[in-house]
């Protein structure tokens, strides 16, 4: 059984049924772009805003349902220091999707060898289908500078064989020369109203009675991350088989409660004892792999509220 997030993922850019729910004008624009002269695209936006969904819809618009028949292929490559590594790619007849930044510092080799090789190969039968294929690079903002430089000429030289779609969270980490080669599609997070609307649709289709108060709390907690909102709704459904009361609590991740407690301690007393205690707590949470940026964000927010 598929998760709700996958089950209710929009399938088409512009459509009455199963179409994209928000940023409609942009979806229309994307539909226009899905033609023979499509440019390279760069999708950016916060997580859970629907970048991947739009890319999938875009590809379906471009090639039809053939893009859904994907298979997992491991591509081997050799680093300059003769280490043999493999990268996972998801590909259909028309497109290839991969995350070169998984390979850490070897992402440059992936870009120079695998991406370039794919770009150089042209489609054999360009009569019956599009004359180009699409390479989707996920998490492009965590590519090293070297790897990004490696993409520059490849994107220009083989532009008629191969179009790139880059997907990233922060545009600032993409070097300017790459930005200038792509059309930047900014996918902002949905507003709270839009999240509410989508959630209502989902629970209606699932025939699941969720009190408005709980729904409101979910939307607040999700902070514009639609994926998180839908997952939370499903989690609540799983926990309360019998039915949800209007004061049902939304589970808060443990690390967040821990940070809340930490910021309470910081405000409680500013002494050297407390300093040591807080430091210990911070070390503890760092060792659980919570990224420092998130810790800063949560603590600065808690201290001011």
């Amino acid at each position: 059984m598929a998760l709700w997030v996958d089950k209710y993922r929009p399938k088409y850019l512009v459509s009455e049924k199963n179409g994209i729910d928000y940023h409609l004008a942009q979806a229309q624009h994307l539909k226009f772009l899905a033609s023979d002269c499509m440019p390279h695209l760069l999708f950016c936006g916060p997580s859970g805003a629907g970048k991947k969904t739009r890319i999938k819809c875009f590809l379906r618009e471009l090639y039809g349902t053939g893009v859904d028949k994907t298979q997992l292929i491991m591509k081997p490559f050799t680093t300059p220091s003769n280490r043999k590594l493999e990268i996972q790619t998801v590909s259909s007849n028309y497109h290839v999707e991969m995350t070169p930044s998984d390979m850490g510092i070897y992402d440059r080799v992936v870009v120079q060898d695998i991406v370039k090789e794919m770009a150089q190969m042209s489609q054999i039968d360009s009569g019956s289908q599009k004359s180009f294929k699409v390479v989707v690079l996920c998490e492009a903002d965590s590519l090293t500078r070297d790897a990004q430089h490696g993409l520059r000429r490849t994107m220009e030289k083989y532009a008629n064989n191969c179009k790139m779609i880059l997907c990233c969270e922060s545009l600032s980490r993409i070097i300017e020369p790459l930005q200038s080669r792509c059309i930047v599609i900014n996918v902002p997070a949905p507003t709270d109203d839009e999240v509410t609307k989508v959630l209502r649709n989902v629970i209606k289709k699932e025939e699941f009675a969720l009190p408005d108060a709980v729904l409101q709390r979910i939307v607040e907690k999700a902070e514009g991350n639609l994926r998180r909102a839908i997952l939370m709704a499903e989690a609540i459904r799983m926990e309360n088989e019998a039915g949800v009361s209007s004061n049902a609590q939304i589970p808060v991740p443990e690390w967040e409660t821990y940070l809340q407690e930490t910021s309470r301690l910081i405000l409680l007393k500013q002494s050297s004892d407390m300093l040591l205690k807080v430091r210990e707590r911070l070390y503890e949470i760092l060792s659980r792999c919570i990224p420092p940026a998130v810790i800063f964000k949560v603590i600065s927010f808690q201290i001011n509220h």
Binding site: R153, A159, E176, Q179, I183, V184
Partner: protein, 335 residues
């Protein structure tokens, strides 16, 4: 190697406009007069120095180098005479020692210095600033040793990332950001050729968005073309209205001096959700100068603030935290 623009008419329809309208001769290069005059002189003349082109993206560096080589060498010997290496090729120290050295070593015809420029070989190294320092250092001797038959054209964005010995071996040419009129002219000619006429006002919008980068402007134009062709006036107006965050920026501009800390937290959330970091800060800065919020009294402090924040974000720090810091410091400056 096959250059995209030489591909036959069968595939012409899928060419991106940036490639289709890439300048093919030196005369087509917009605005970079000194470089073009020099290169034209070299086409006639007897000698050519090593060249270093630098400047912001989309100003015509690679186009100038390729157009020059194409005019210098007839098509049939182009591949023998020109070696074009860019960051998509492996360019470690080993490649400098083998590939570049071997290519530079080959002499053409009988010994002795060639009598004119047509007898030279040219190595174009694109994106040199992405090469390691070691590889650059290894190039020093290569550049000098074989200067009898080989010239280098180095291309980069930031000349400061090259090591000094390499820079001092070349004649430096800076490619300027293209001024508005030049860009609008070029965009208009493309529009006319593609049959998607646009008004001057609309072209200015596109160009403003591209910030002096012609390639980006052409790219944007292409993405707009299906809408323009569709003849849907309302859609057209919608896309040419300009960036969506103009409203947000002027709002921030007004409210910052009096905003409460809670407000700033909320504002930061809104900005991170909908805009793209660095460009937001730049536009905000510009807007504040325009509205005279920033004046002679505080411009030094403000400039420093914007610069530090931009650097941190470009170095990969978290956007939301930095924006928070930026807006809070901004408020303090006005208080």
């Amino acid at each position: 190697m096959a250059e995209p623009m030489e591909v036959g008419s069968r595939k012409e329809k899928v060419l991106t406009w940036t490639e289709k309208y890439r300048p093919k001769t030196l005369d087509d290069i917009a605005h970079q007069d000194e470089v073009v005059t020099m290169l034209k002189g070299a086409l006639q003349g007897k000698d050519l120095p090593h060249l270093l082109f630098y400047g912001p993206p989309g100003t015509g560096k690679t186009s100038a180098a390729l157009a020059f080589c194409r005019q210098l060498f007839p098509k049939n010997i182009f591949h023998d005479r020109v070696l074009d290496l860019n960051a998509s090729d492996e360019r470690g120290i080993a490649v400098v020692r083998q590939k570049i050295r071997t290519f530079s070593k080959m002499s053409l015809g009988a010994g002795g210095a060639p009598e004119n420029v047509q007898k030279l070989k040219i190595i174009i190294l694109d994106e040199v600033d992405a090469m390691t320092r070691e590889a650059q250092a290894a190039m020093r001797r290569v550049i000098e040793d074989y200067s009898k038959y080989t010239r280098f054209i180095l291309i980069c964005n930031y000349v400061s990332r090259l090591i000094a010995p390499v820079v001092s071996r070349c004649a430096k040419f800076r490619f300027k950001s293209l001024p508005a009129e030049v860009q609008v002219d070029r965009l208009r000619s493309i529009c006319d050729a593609e049959g998607t006429p646009m008004s001057d006002d609309e072209l200015h919008r596109v160009m403003e968005f591209a910030e002096g980068d012609l390639r980006r402007a052409v790219c944007t134009l292409q993405s707009l073309s299906p809408i323009l062709k569709s003849g849907d006036e309302s859609a057209r107006a919608c896309y040419l209205r300009g960036s969506s965050d103009t409203k947000l920026i002027s709002e921030v501009c007004k409210s910052i001096p009096t905003a409460s800390t809670q407000d700033i937290f909320k504002l930061t959330r809104v900005i991170t959700k909908s805009c793209t970091g660095v460009s937001f800060i730049r536009h905000l800065f510009q807007q504040m100068i325009d509205e005279d919020v920033i004046n002679d009294a505080n411009i030094a402090v403000m400039g420093k603030l914007v610069a530090t924040c931009e650097k941190r974000i470009l170095d990969g720090c978290d956007l939301e935290n930095n924006l928070l810091d930026f807006l809070l410091t901004l408020r303090e400056t006005f208080a």
